[in-house]
């Protein structure tokens, strides 16, 4: 018997059946995989978390800021917390795209035949998404500081606003993760992000105060999820929180997670290979 064959036999004899992996181990394996893929495509993250917020902050602050609020500095104080929300909103679709891509590719079959807690694939991938959300929110905030933004409630307020926006992005991600289990094609997800997310983002209070809008529009805009999150982030950042508004936001986001997370897991588990 030649060399490679005996190696094969040895490898086969050496294979002992390990215990079924714990959920945490499975999640950390997917965190590693997702991390490995993200650092291979850092330029995408750079576009989302540096170029995109920088361009928008500059355009809105200097082109429209004076016209909207009288002075650019004044407008930046209003704009920046909403801009943090705006930046991550477009990124929430990525978890959906990542999951759908896996399901369409052959590797999904391999995952299915391994004995781990299946939703680990979603959770592990989302962990890395959360890191990129954090990077995007922090850069947006950093660029704001460079342009002269001051969090009026101090660093504590800024930290709370950060956490709130993170929670918002986390919740929204579950909607797209869930959608990725039911859409036919990956492209449907990106189309959806243009057709649904952009109108929602522009009919929000990120760029202008709702009190300046006609009343019928103002009340629609007020219940837009992007508005709720922006208003709450603004309140936390500047110490002007309206408790009922913050509560509505938090309860709403929690509701989204409670519905869409288990639904996503359930759909993923029962998903047949296509």
């Amino acid at each position: 018997m030649n060399q490679p064959q005996s190696k094969l036999l040895m490898a086969m004899q050496a294979g002992k059946r390990p215990q079924r992996p714990g959920a945490l181990n499975a999640v950390s394996a997917f965190v590693w995989r997702s991390w490995r893929k993200t650092i291979g495509k850092l330029h995408y993250l750079a576009i989302d978390s540096v170029i995109f917020p920088a361009v928008f902050l500059l355009i809105f602050t200097y082109l429209f800021g004076g016209a909207i609020s009288g002075s650019t500095g004044h407008y930046l104080q209003f704009l920046l917390p909403g801009m943090m929300v705006y930046t991550v909103t477009t990124m929430t679709v990525y978890i959906g795209i990542a999951m759908k891509t896996d399901i369409e590719r052959g590797v999904f079959n391999r995952f299915r035949t391994l004995p781990f807690w299946q939703p680990a694939a979603i959770v592990g991938t989302l962990v890395i998404q959360l890191l990129s959300f954090a990077a995007a929110i922090l850069t947006t905030f950093g660029i704001g500081l460079l342009l002269g933004f001051k969090p009026e409630a101090g660093w504590g307020g800024a930290a709370l606003a950060f956490l709130l926006v993170m929670f918002y992005a986390f919740s929204l991600s579950w909607i797209f993760a869930c959608l990725s289990m039911v859409v036919q094609k990956t492209e449907s997800l990106s189309t959806m992000s243009y057709l649904v997310l952009y109108p929602i983002m522009f009919t929000s209070n990120v760029f202008a105060d709702t009190s300046t809008m006609p009343q019928w529009l103002g009340s629609i805009v007020d219940f837009n999820p992007v508005s709720l999150a922006s208003a709450s982030a603004r309140g936390l950042m500047h110490g002007t929180t309206v408790p009922s508004g913050l509560m509505t936001t938090l309860v709403g986001l929690m509701l989204v997670v409670t519905v869409f997370m288990p639904l996503t897991f359930w759909l993923y588990r029962k998903k047949d290979k296509s």
Binding site: M12, Q13, A14, V107, R110, R112, T113, F116
Partner: protein
């Protein structure tokens, strides 16, 4: 108590209105290399996907080592390995990273998953390419990596769904050698194939499936014997005499005679070996000399033809895969 490796009863599966499996029943003993043979669209891949917990059956019971593939999917998953028609690997990662990832998901610690990955890369001749991303692998390398991934936990049963489709002859021999060695180790192997030669070479037992049910089951020899005791193959000295020879053989053997691509050869089924001797004597009396003759078992190709009334796949037999 020892359960059969695989026990499938009255299995049904449809995609929408298209019924693929129509009450398929099959039992496989431990330690066998079992071939599932059938043309495209017979339901081979669907069967394997259900056994490997990738698809849910619509009706019927499916057990792997006594474990239900729906209710005890995780327990089944820790004992099986699957290599499908399309390599189930992550193209963006390297070969090494793929095996390390799957190792961890199979339950190895990060460290032992890495060690196990090196072992398998070495055993499957992939060490050199280990650092390259799998997207750049050749078909044969991808298939070897896929089988390596299926072997991570040294499974009790390995499913190979058309493992050599699309491979060059060398890679195909590699895969066959791997299967033989696994069989020696006592691993149960379920192998689907369209290639009769492959089934004949590797399998101890066979099921022929067509139209979603098993139409014949047994050892390759059983199946061949079931359609007659054997085949006589004759090579004439003069190809021009082939139609005369055909007439003689028909009258003696009372069966249809097949002409081969080689213009001097023809073959026929014989129910009784003594008739073959008579046929040869008649040929010689009629002044038709023969260069070569043999009496052998029918090929699986002929078995398939006899069972289904249609050839396995005209284009494959044409390529001389028989």
């Amino acid at each position: 108590m020892a359960h059969a490796a695989i026990d499938v009863r009255e299995l049904r599966k449809a995609y929408g209105t298209l019924e693929v499996l129509k009450g398929l029943t099959l039992s496989i003993e431990r330690g066998t290399v079992y071939g599932v043979l059938g043309p495209n669209g017979a339901g081979k891949t669907t069967l394997v996907s259900i056994l490997a917990t990738l698809l849910r059956p619509d009706a019927g019971t499916v057990r792997v080592f006594g474990l239900d593939v729906v209710r005890e999917a995780d327990a089944v998953r820790s004992r099986i390995g699957l290599t499908g028609q399309f390599a189930a690997v992550d193209e963006e990662l390297s070969g090494r990273e793929n095996l390390a990832l799957f190792g961890r998901l199979a339950g190895y610690s990060a460290r032992s998953a890495k060690m196990r990955a090196e072992e398998l890369l070495d055993a499957f001749g992939l060490l050199e390419a280990a650092g390259r991303s799998v997207g750049k692998y050749s078909g044969g390398m991808r298939r070897r990596l896929d089988i390596a991934a299926a072997m991570l936990v040294a499974p009790d049963i390995l499913f190979l769904d058309e493992p050599t489709t699309g491979l060059d002859p060398r890679s195909r021999n590699d895969v066959w050698e791997i299967v033989r060695q696994l069989a020696e180790q006592g691993t149960t192997v379920l192998l689907t194939t369209q290639y009769l030669e492959e089934a004949d070479q590797l399998a101890n037992r066979l099921a022929v499936i067509d139209g979603g049910t098993v139409i014949a089951e047994g050892t390759p020899d059983d199946l061949k014997a079931s359609i007659g005791s054997g085949t006589i193959l004759i090579r004439l000295a003069d190809p021009l005499q082939r139609s005369d020879a055909e007439r003689v053989l028909k009258s003696v053997l009372q069966t249809s005679v097949r002409q081969h691509a080689d213009s001097a050869s023809l073959s026929a089924q014989v129910a009784d070996p003594r008739l073959a001797i008579t046929a040869l004597a008649e040929l010689s009396a009629a002044g038709i000399p023969t260069n070569q003759f043999s009496l052998g078992q029918p090929s699986l190709d002929e078995v398939f033809l006899a069972l289904t009334g249609k050839p396995v796949q005209a284009e494959l037999t044409g390529e001389g895969i028989v």
